[in-house]
């Protein structure tokens, strides 16, 4: 197992390096002069001022050197300063990441609460009314746009009861109820979307497992149906579901862009959208690199979990 972990860790390094090259390239391919587009009034700058601004941002160096500076900074957790307000990018991220993280964890809890009972019922009542209902619920979760659901979730309580989410985030320690109220609705919407994938996955694996010989044996032994389903079938059927939830973190990170924008939550998703609109490239570069790093490490953990659950994978 140790060798397997080491091998997987070593494989993650080239991927991370390639990711950094992709991000760097995207940021350097931006048409036009970054400085001019940043200042928006480039016409008024003298060539000397322009050269100084370039020098200050390190843009006068050759590209490989610029990449090396940025990469070595990333390893030291120094992602440069925001071009907009001059504060370190790491500080922006540290301040906002806990919000996105909390949203992701809450959404995943909601997804588990919704998907496990629905996935099981759907498989046990295959092609019945409950199965169709649950499948429709899941497929709707994959089809309804998050930003629309979020908009409606804000709009209708506001029209009917005059309720609107607070504009400023409330600390959990100061006012837990207000804090949860602020996070629960977005977490529920994101969780519903995640549960859609889980329901379909759980239904599919449950159907497969329920046809296996050991289930027949368990039934033949005279075990109660509840025990057969919960202890024997669900336990085995949930292995792929549990591991797939690790990969859902990537989706949650991506969707945080939408959910945080609509609900005005100042997380990293909103940070990246604002930075794109403000053309704050150092912040975009740093935040996107953070997202990709998290995804690579989550995939690594998922792979390791698979290896731990199924020894056949380890030795392949």
């Amino acid at each position: 197992m140790q060798q397997y972990i080491l091998r997987r860790l070593l494989l993650a390094i080239p991927t991370l390096l390639l990711v950094s090259v992709v991000i760097f390239t995207i940021n350097r391919l931006i048409p036009g002069d970054v400085i001019l587009s940043l200042l928006g009034e480039g016409g008024r700058l003298t060539p000397e001022e322009l050269a100084r601004a370039r020098r200050e941002l390190g843009l006068d160096k050759p590209l490989p050197l610029q990449y090396w500076d940025w990469l070595s900074g990333f390893v030291r957790l120094d992602l440069g300063n925001s071009l907009f307000d001059g504060r370190p990018v790491t500080e922006h991220i540290m301040l906002r990441f806990p919000i996105t993280f909390e949203l992701a964890i809450l959404a995943m809890i909601v997804a588990i609460i919704i998907s496990i009972p629905l996935g099981i019922i759907s498989a046990l009542r295959q092609d019945g009314l409950l199965d169709y209902g649950s499948r429709l619920f899941a497929i709707a979760g994959l089809s309804l746009p998050l930003f629309w659901l979020a908009t409606l979730a804000i709009l209708f309580p506001s029209i009917w009861w005059g309720l609107s989410p607070p504009l400023e985030p409330t600390s959990f320690f100061k006012n837990p109820t207000a804090h949860l109220y602020q996070f629960l609705l977005p977490a529920f919407i994101l969780g519903y979307r995640l549960s859609a994938t889980n329901i379909r996955m759980l239904r599919s694996t449950m159907l497969e497992v329920l046809r296996d010989d050991y289930i027949r044996t368990a039934r033949a032994k005279g075990l109660k149906e509840r025990v057969v389903v919960m202890r024997h079938a669900l336990k085995n059927a949930s292995i792929p579901v549990v591991t797939i939830m690790g990969t859902q973190l990537a989706f949650t990170m991506g969707s945080s862009v939408i959910v945080e924008t609509v609900f005005g939550l100042p997380g990293t998703g909103k940070l990246v959208v604002d930075a794109i609109l403000l053309r704050d490239y150092t912040v975009v570069q740093g935040t996107v690199m953070l997202f990709a790093t998290i995804v690579i490490f989550m995939n690594l953990i998922v792979d390791l979990t698979y290896g731990w659950l199924d020894p056949r994978i380890r030795y392949n």
């Binding site: 992709v22 995207i26 499948r135 969707s255 862009v257 939408i258």
Partner: protein, 300 residues
Amino acid sequence: MNTTTEQITQLQGLRLRPKRNFVNSTLTFIRKKPLGAMGGFILIGMWSLAIFADFIVPYDPLALHPRDKLIPPDSMYLMGTDYLGRDVLSRVIAGAKVSMYVGLMTVLIGTGIGSVLGQISGYFRGTFDLLVQRLIDAIQAFPSLILALAIVAMLGPSLENAIIAIAFLNASNAARVIRGATMAINENQYVDAARALGASHVRILTRYIFPNVTAPILILASITLGNSILVEASLSFLGLGTQPPTPSWGRMLSSEGRFYMEIAPWLAIWPGVAISMAVLGINMFGDALRDVLDPKLRGR
């Protein structure tokens, strides 16, 4: 030997099952896959809206009616009007054109390029395959919406650039899936036989591999279509996709419309219903298509 051949010919001539024609197959599909059939009907409806949009819109979707600002749905404006007095129904119908166009283009370009790349990568293997796969690893490490945002930010916000960004994502996904399918098919004896008969690489790829990966390509295209429409709507919602005044479902729900939604909730409802119906239809049809084309998944 001769007798056996004759017997087989006779048995084939018996036609134990009635001859399958389009109507019969469609009726069987509707009976066996009611959700898929419903999705198919929605999809046909959406495509019809998109194709005939210019003929069926009650008003010009760009025309301003300053006297009729924020009119609730009535007999004149079935879905009401927006803050500039534009007819919401006409804009929703015109939005179908944008969404379906984006869906079609991103799937054709993305899945097309990805499938070719995946087949070449899976067939030849070696250094090229290694490079392509590591690059795809890197691309797939990004949450898709974030990468699409970054690409659009790089190219500049516009519908065409949103299409490029989404097609790029689709291509990386297709390349990975089709590579796997190609590798599996490449192991078959009939490919070895073709190779032994001296068939060229191009012939093997086009005559033996490609016909066998069309099912995964179709399944992938059906899954990708709905997602592409959602990503474009999300980009437009964030102001980085379709640009005004072109009507787009995502844009109609974005900041410019949001300001008025409390006093005119119909602005928030209809574009969302349209996106949801289109994507729901595509996903339901795609699921059924996957069941039909992939026998391993039947009944799951």
